[in-house]
Amino acid sequence: MKIVVCIKQVPDTTEIKIDPVTGTLIRDGVPSIMNPDDKSGLEMALQLKDEKGAHVTVITMGPPQADLILREAYAMGVDRAIHLTDRKFAGADTLATSHALAGALRKIDFDLLITGRQAIDGDTAQVGPQIAEHLDLPQVSYLEDLKFDGDKTFTMKRHIEDGYQMLEVEAPCVVTVLSSANTPRYMNVGGIVDAYQKEVEVWGFNEIEVDEKDLGLKGSPTSVHKAFARGLKPAGELYEVGTDEAVGIIIKKLKEKFILN
């Protein structure tokens, strides 16, 4: 079985703080990480490698520094890494991103394409299904678990709000995986030692077959009209008192707001 996993380098948004005075984002010193849903998808692929001997390729689209997550993927145990990078891809929204990735993926043979459900910097959950559409492949999003019959058929467990669905799909297909699907392994020390000895294939516009008008800023139907920090709400009352008094204060407030009679 051949698996391709799409991964993305993202700022660790849990480390972003808001300046209490200006209300703006503090982005300095925020580390870049492999997107958690993608990393979970990568773990799913590596488990299939451990169990069934799958060949695992990772691909990322991003600026040169995104090389780091490909090295990380090598240290976790992948077989091949591709870095899709070109100025022509810059400024892409989800649709243009999916066009670029689909263009690269057309050049790779696979049975299963895994993406994370969504990236923590955008939270859109769109690129996976959009790639599936461009490649005319079936998709299953919000994947929690997957079993392969060893031949062609996957049985999949898809998360929904009030439970889950069991689905059956034949290879090749596209899935988008939840970070809760599994716990990613750590990089292996020996893998780290070798990570920079291995080749990362760098692909640009010339290596993929996509119409330039579908890429980057030009290929993006959506654009940001404006962006703003959420701002701060004026502070409410704060009490540092004993338990009994605290309970009294809460009850008084509930009465004030007519929640209690």
Binding site: P20, L95, D123, S141, L167, P221, R230, E240, V241, A246
Partner: protein, 332 residues
């Protein structure tokens, strides 16, 4: 693409087992407001099997026309049949804008449709307004809720957005409203139905949607363990409230994902939100800060939750829950 050929605000009506989901009514309510502002019409797209009898109710909730696609292929949601149906409607009817609820279903359907018709999609909108030139201004949180971005789709139609459940308002049913109900025929290409649904399993029998609760008793790390959650249950019981939680507690397995509040969970806006032992990371705050009244209890005086709370108590959440429950039980 001639933009002026595209007209009407289209809303995807999500139903599950024939039951119209609240998010669809919220979208209709908002679409109604936008359409009135633009002197345009609201079209509800109702897809399902044996679903036609639900159409009238959608007119009462704001639709001018209900496009019903009643077909056995649409009995339960899978991506491809629904995508084919919506795309056929788009290509024949040319909507100016199209909104879908940002549920696990909508977030599966939306991007597939947008890629097939080649238009832009704004995910997880929390606000939709009309811009100077009549375009949709779709605002959504980004960077883990740290930043709000307003997105436009200038030269492509329809302007598509998925919208978070629980943030827009449904209008009260107005039975005097009139509108058309159109049965719409879709030519399915069954050869492309490649995902087979084996079964749908519900995990929680008394499923409560926390986005609809009037009062939420929410717990975080400071609640600690299972006993802490049992105590919250007891408190919730005295207040007719529902229990919810921060991501840490969901990850720890104390409570299901469907009760998670925050950027990666649900956005809630109850009359009263209790935050017990929740530090108030931005991811959490993004999902609850619009609650009418926020009461926070936390040991750490500097916890960011106190920046959004109306009433903050520095103290032990577990003890306060216990005492508060006792007092309220006595009162009842």
């Amino acid at each position: 693409m001639k933009l002026e050929d595209y007209k009407g605000i289209y809303v995807f009506i999500e139903q599950r087992e024939g039951i119209i989901q609240n998010v669809a009514l919220e979208l209709l309510g908002q679409a109604r407001k936008l359409a009135d502002e633009l002197s345009d019409k609201v079209y509800a797209m109702l897809l399902g099997d044996q679903i036609t009898d639900q159409a009238q109710g959608l007119i009462a909730r704001g639709a001018d026309e209900v496009i019903v696609v009643d077909a056995p292929e649409l009995k339960e949601y899978t991506t491809e049949p629904y995508t084919q149906a919506i795309c056929q409607i788009i290509s024949e009817r040319k909507p100016e804008s199209l909104f879908i609820g940002a549920t696990t279903l909508g977030r599966d359907l939306g991007p597939r449709v947008s890629a097939r018709v080649g238009t832009g999609l704004t995910a997880d909108c929390t606000k939709i307004e009309i811009g100077e030139n009549g375009e949709m201004l779709m605002t959504r949180p980004a960077f883990g809720g740290n930043l709000m971005a307003t997105i436009v789709c200038k030269n492509h139609r329809p302007q598509m957005g998925t919208v978070r459940p629980g943030v827009l308002f449904a209008m009260d049913a107005d039975e005097s409203r009139t509108g058309a109900i159109v049965n719409y025929e879709v030519k399915f290409n069954a050869a492309k139905f490649r995902v087979k649904l084996l079964e749908t399993v519900k995990e929680d029998n008394n499923l409560i949607d926390i986005t609809e609760a009037r009062i939420l008793v929410s717990g975080g790390r400071g609640i600690g363990n299972k006993e802490g959650f049992e105590a919250m249950d007891a408190l919730a019981h005295t207040l007719n409230a529902e229990v919810s939680a921060s991501r840490a507690m969901v990850d720890a397995g104390y409570i299901g994902h469907d009760r998670q509040v925050g950027q990666t969970g649900k956005t809630v806006r109850p009359d009263l939100y209790f935050a017990f032992g929740i530090s108030g990371a931005i991811q959490h705050v993004a999902g609850m800060e619009d609650s009418d009244l926020i009461i926070a209890v936390n040991k750490d005086k500097h916890a960011p939750i106190f920046q959004v709370s109306d009433l903050g108590i520095v103290g032990d959440a577990k003890q306060i829950i216990k005492k508060l429950t006792e007092r309220l039980e006595k009162q009842n």
